[in-house]
């Protein structure tokens, strides 16, 4: 599945101060993870994404500060502008539709007996 949240804009464009943006922050590098994590997880960076209003204009990829909805200032790499919320309802599941229909029929058959 393609990464759904990146901004399609060219990285050179200045993002104006006050834009609603997403920043990323590498919290712990691979190799510095907690001692108890499984090997597949330990091989990856532990990364945070936080959203807020951009404090000063900057291009994508720059190290920036945002003001969050709590008014706190948090820093990280500017990753996206107006990031889309990607959660949706997905595709229909015909198997479940058929099973629901069959359950209705089972109930009707019983009540008509």
């Amino acid at each position: 599945m393609a990464e759904p949240r990146r901004c399609p804009d060219s990285p050179a464009r200045e993002i104006p101060a006050g834009s609603w943006v997403e920043i990323t922050q590498v919290v712990l590098r691979a190799g510095n993870r907690a001692p108890n994590v499984p090997a597949d997880t330990a091989a990856t960076d532990f990364v945070a994404r936080i959203r807020g209003f951009l404090v000063e204009s900057a291009p994508l990829g720059a190290h920036v500060t945002v003001r969050t909805l709590l008014g706190r200032e948090v820093s990280g790499e500017l990753a996206a502008v107006n990031p889309r919320n990607p959660a949706d309802f997905g595709n229909p599941v015909p198997e479940l539709l058929r099973l629901g229909l069959a359950a209705r029929q089972a109930l009707e058959k019983a009540s008509s007996r």
């Binding site: 599945m1 990464e3 759904p4 949240r5 919290v27 712990l28 510095n32 993870r33 907690a34 108890n36 994590v37 499984p38 597949d40 997880t41 091989a43 990856t44 960076d45 532990f46 990364v47 945070a48 994404r49 936080i50 959203r51 807020g52 969050t68 909805l69 709590l70 706190r72 948090v74 919320n85 990607p86 959660a87 949706d88 309802f89 997905g90 595709n91 229909p92 599941v93 198997e95 479940l96 539709l97 099973l99 629901g100 229909l101 069959a102 359950a103 209705r104 089972a106 109930l107 019983a110 009540s111």
Partner: protein
């Protein structure tokens, strides 16, 4: 002087950070020996009468949720029961709470405590409905809410249900930290508690479980008022233990001592909860065995020194259902009863459709919660992700389901079942941890009494299980010694 924020340094300050951020002196309740503690003292520590809890919840758009009859589901379930069997099934519609789940009950009381303590804001580390509940309750108090969620695998693929929760939390004005997979969520949690001085809205304080007691209490009183009797059984989705604990305590508080407490978890056996690879191969982010088992056998593995939520203390029976069965139950609830809910909250519904067969037609079986549904949460969203992850989705037998590889819908209600969890096995697993702690010394009388209560085991049962665990530990030690020698 700058603070050392390295992983090791922050973790070493854990006890101090926690003490400041939850406002409870846990040492007061510790008994000699490190095994037992004064559970009733801790559980009863909130300086808040039960009426006060209800008053806070009413003010904050929580509780007094409808207890719904689902006659068509009951009729369908009775088709699979012996003549005269098949309890009347009722559903407590917890989706009616502010923020759409029973978690508002916990959050409302945690936020009351934070407001009383003069905190500026609260932090909760949760990928589930609790985050939205905290953010929603914080909005009512005008407090700040900072929510930490485990959302992405290392390829940036988000679990849709958690992405929906990010959206909800931000809609309620929270700051959300979306994190990749890993238990270091706890490290960030501590760091941000230290940085902000906010209150730790832990799921596991006595305030959080007290907030759920109203749920058990409402179930008992609503059943008695409408049907003249308490429920024969209440089926509770079991994960960290708070839902079971609060509900059971509330039922007891209302005098429903004869009600059987049935815990239900989605069977995710074989998937590792801290694995980057497995993260998006599960369709449920909570209410599953990946939490239900470890929290039962090691309840104090949480963000506070002692967990007020203790599943084994209250469970009479513990069953598992498959992911496919919960999706099927969710479809039935929509198709036969016109209610779109869940799916995660329908874990207890899937179990109840089976458990109800065992009770008489005049008895009541209560499904203890629903939760809101929506984009990301809905079965179609979860099953779309599953198929993208290469998981097979099919209709078939329940024993064909393989968590992380195959999801199987039952072809009819007759094909649904439950797996019985051996509570004795869980108790012995709990006791192995005790044995590792105490070494060769004998348990004191007060420790035995604590364990009997904490494991809901009769004295002779506890004694027998403890002796067996002890004997195994000695044999293992001898074998290890021989291997070394």
């Amino acid at each position: 002087m700058t603070r050392d924020d390295s992983y090791a340094a922050v973790m070493s300050r854990r006890a101090e950070i926690m003490r400041r951020s939850v406002g409870i002196d846990y040492d007061r309740y510790e008994d000699e020996g490190g095994i037992a503690f004064d559970y009733d003292g801790l559980a009863g520590s909130p300086a808040m009468a039960f009426d006060e809890v209800r008053r806070i919840q009413r003010r904050n758009k929580v509780g007094d949720t409808p207890l719904l009859e689902v006659p068509r589901l009951t009729a369908l379930a009775r088709q699979t029961a012996a003549p005269g069997r098949g309890a009347r099934i009722l559903i407590k519609d917890e989706a009616a709470n502010a923020a759409g789940s029973f978690k508002a009950r916990r959050a409302s009381i945690c936020l009351a405590q934070a407001a009383d303590g003069g905190f500026e804001g609260v932090i909760a580390a949760t990928s589930g409905n609790y985050g939205a509940a905290i953010a929603s309750q914080a909005a009512m108090y005008g407090l700040k809410a900072l929510i930490l969620q485990e959302v992405f695998d290392s390829e940036g693929r988000g679990q849709p249900e958690v992405l929906e929760k990010t959206r909800a939390c931000e809609a309620y004005g929270a700051e959300v930290w979306q994190l990749t997979v890993g238990p270091e969520l706890f490290y960030i949690h501590l760091r941000l508690l230290e940085e902000t001085g906010y209150f730790n809205a832990s799921l596991y304080t006595p305030y959080a479980t007290l907030g759920i007691e109203t749920l058990g209490h409402e179930i008992a009183t609503q059943c008695v008022e409408r049907f003249g009797r308490p429920p024969a059984a209440v089926v509770v989705t079991h994960s960290g233990g708070g839902n079971v604990t609060g509900t059971a305590r509330g039922l007891h508080r209302a005098g429903a001592d004869g009600t059987t407490i049935v815990g239900a978890s989605v069977d995710l056996t074989g998937l590792h909860m801290a694995s980057d690879r497995d993260f998006n191969r599960k369709s449920f982010t909570t209410g599953h065995t990946g939490f239900g088992f470890p929290f039962s056998v090691d309840p104090d593995r949480v963000d506070v020194p002692r967990n007020a939520a203790r599943g084994l203390r209250y469970l009479d029976r513990y069953v598992t259902v498959t992911q496919g069965e919960v999706f099927y139950a969710t479809q039935l609830l929509a198709d036969l009863e016109g209610l779109e809910r869940g799916p995660a909250g329908n874990t207890s519904l899937a179990a109840a459709l089976v458990v109800a067969r065992e009770f008489g037609e005049d008895e009541l079986v209560v499904v203890q919660e629903t939760e809101y549904t929506g984009a990301g949460k809905h079965p179609t969203a979860q099953l779309t992700l599953a198929r993208e992850m290469g998981i097979e989705v099919a209709v078939g037998r329940r024993d064909e389901e393989r968590p992380g590889r195959k999801i199987v819908f039952p072809e009819s209600i007759e094909a649904m079942g439950v797996g019985e969890v051996d509570l004795s096995r869980l108790r012995r697993s709990y006791l192995r941890r005790v044995a590792a702690k105490v070494g060769e010394r004998q348990l004191e009388q007060h420790e035995l009494a604590f364990l009997e209560a904490d494991l809901k085991a009769a004295p002779d049962v506890l004694r027998e299980e403890w002796d067996a665990v002890r004997a195994d530990a000695r044999r293992d030690a001898a074998a290890a010694g021989a291997a070394r020698g």
